[in-house]
Amino acid sequence: MLSRLLKSTELDTRMLGMAFALVLIWIAFHVLSGGLFLTPRNLWNLSVQSSSVAIMATGMVLVIVTRNIDLSIGSMLGFVGMVMGVIQADLLPKLLGFEHPATWIVALGAGLLLGTLLGALQGYLIAYLGIPSFIVTLGGLLVWRGAAWWVTSGQTVAPLDSTFKLMGGGPEGSIGATWSWAVGLVACAAVVALLAHGRSRRQQFHFPLRPVAADVFLGTVGCVLILGAVAVANAYPWPIGSVRRYAQANHIAIPDGGLFIAHGIAIPVLIAIAVGIVMTFLATRTRYGRYVYAIGGNPEAAELAGIATRWVIMKTFMLMGLLAAISAAISIARLDAATNAEGTLAELLVIAAAVIGGTSLAGGTGTVAGAMLGAVLMQSLQSGMVLLGVDTPLQNIVVGIVLVLAVWLDTAYRRRRA
């Protein structure tokens, strides 16, 4: 009965399997850590920690789908982060004054532009000059890391603009209980509207429809998950220090038993979700996305169909650069400092997230949602092991083994289905 219902929802079984694996991992860590894992505090932190990798993973999916790779994003993140740091902590204060309201937007805009340009340069070399992406981005890995050092001769840049810092999360960098519920309700309404729209469009053309039960089931599960996530984020209170500062600044007396101020959804998480939605839209609803997948499936056929394949590939690398810049902003904001080592080895985490999320290195297959789920899975493993007090070298060993195991399972699954 349940399996028939699941089947009629036309959900990807692979995706369901991964969600199931994630739940298993969570429960296992919860039991092993004596009830520390599935707490609002830990889940909230997990969501913030995942967002940077998840954002880049959405772009890496498209890069890998076109049969390319990008090894440079960790270094690019470091370089762009340094430039954004210097602009807001050094350059703009001299020009506009300290904590000027325009500082954060100028710094962020410059960073996003720089990331896109770096991606465009690499994309041009790959698409138009025909240099393999592995080599171009391996070069990029060295060049951008060196450039990150060069910006300040290795000095760390701090502190950052206080508005910019909101992108990193923390008590101030979260939207609070009321707004979180509002976001949750809007998201639920969007889920219902999407399902209804899909149904009416198919009806219009007299196509076979999914059973009503399947759509109701999908909508219910979606809304429960969304509202559940909001409830968890709202159950995590501000730390006492932040509450005291807040109470002092607003002249509120703290009642006995403390003042409960909820974090709500963190801003970096909101950014990651927005990126995920935009990237899913790009990948599935636009011509650009269709071409990315067609090129990955059969580059020659895409060329013969009249697609400007080189331009599509260059655009993909530009997008990757832009996403690395967004992640750079989140990373330095979270640290409240830009260092030249920021993002070291991030490219490997991102590639692992995409691959665990079902992206085939042979090209042609992969989904944005899968890659983001992969990022959460990777981060869950890592922070779960930190909770259990596992040593760093052993953490790396476990993550490495899980990566290989996951891809092996996936390969076996695909072979059985083919």
Partner: protein, 266 residues
């Protein structure tokens, strides 16, 4: 065959293309009228596929001219060719295996909604229509093309070529992956399209098919034309002689490649 004014639908004049030192196509001239089927035959490596890939924009010729309805046609890439109404069914089918039928049919020419997003539903509707015409039992619109059988994949490639009101159709071994019943269906389709006034280039290894479907036959060997003949003016054996020996029979108009190898063979 020409129209009332005497202008052929397509005319390729003195087309040459060399890869390195190999003359894949050497001073080839052919023409095709509206409502005519011209068969291109010859051994593997005779230059048929290269010649039609020049017309479809996949290759760029070194020299020679292409005119369509008497006007010079500038074909530098597949998009240019499509803008002249030239559609191609490639021997390799040239399908993107990982996307579904509708996505393949509209690849490069997607229908879009007013907002500029892909209109998948409208594309699926048209895909159902055109596939219904070719392969009435076909129902796997949700599957990627990879999951389809050889015959179904071939139907998709054919459907893509006829979906956009082609004027000139190039079919490179269109029945290679098909069973007898599906082959007959393609034959029927060719007759139907011909009656609608399309010009069709048919590349085939099957000499019976060629005699069945074509109006004229053009034999190529080593990148050149051995000869061109109306189907009624030559026998199958004579055509085989043209293919194997490069010998041009009296019923055919000899091309530059005729009798070239005879000296060494006889």
């Amino acid at each position: 065959m020409t129209d009332a004014a005497g202008t052929p639908l397509v005319e390729m004049r003195d087309i040459s293309l060399a890869f390195g030192g190999i003359h894949a196509v050497d001073r080839v001239s052919i023409d095709l009228g509206a409502g005519e089927v011209l068969a291109l035959v010859g051994h593997n490596g005779a230059g048929k596929s290269t010649l039609i890939k020049i017309l479809s924009g996949a290759y760029r010729r070194d020299s020679g001219s292409i005119t369509i309805r008497g006007a010079e046609a500038a074909i530098a890439n597949p998009r240019d060719a499509k803008s002249y109404g030239i559609e191609t069914i490639y021997q390799t089918l040239a399908l993107a295996d990982n996307v579904d039928t509708a996505a393949n049919l509209f690849l490069g020419r997607e229908l879009r909604t007013r907002l500029g997003t892909l209109d998948d539903i409208a594309m699926e509707a048209q895909a159902r229509q055109v596939m219904g015409r070719l392969n009435p039992h076909f129902a796997r619109f949700k599957d990627s093309v990879k999951a389809l059988s050889g015959g179904q994949r071939q139907s998709v490639a054919i459907a893509r070529a006829i979906l956009f009101n082609a004027q000139i159709l190039i079919m490179d071994e269109p029945t290679a992956a098909l069973g007898p019943q599906e082959t007959a269906q393609v034959g029927e389709l060719i007759r139907q399209l011909k009656a609608e006034g399309l010009g069709i280039f048919l590349i085939s290894h099957d000499i019976h098919d060629v005699f069945d479907l074509a109006d004229r036959i053009c034999v190529m060997k080593n990148g050149t034309v051995v000869g061109t003949a109306r189907i009624g003016d030559v026998t199958k054996d004579e055509v085989l002689g043209m293919i194997i020996l490069g010998k041009c029979p009296p019923g055919a108009v000899p091309g530059p490649g005729s009798g070239r190898d005879l000296g060494s063979l006889v």
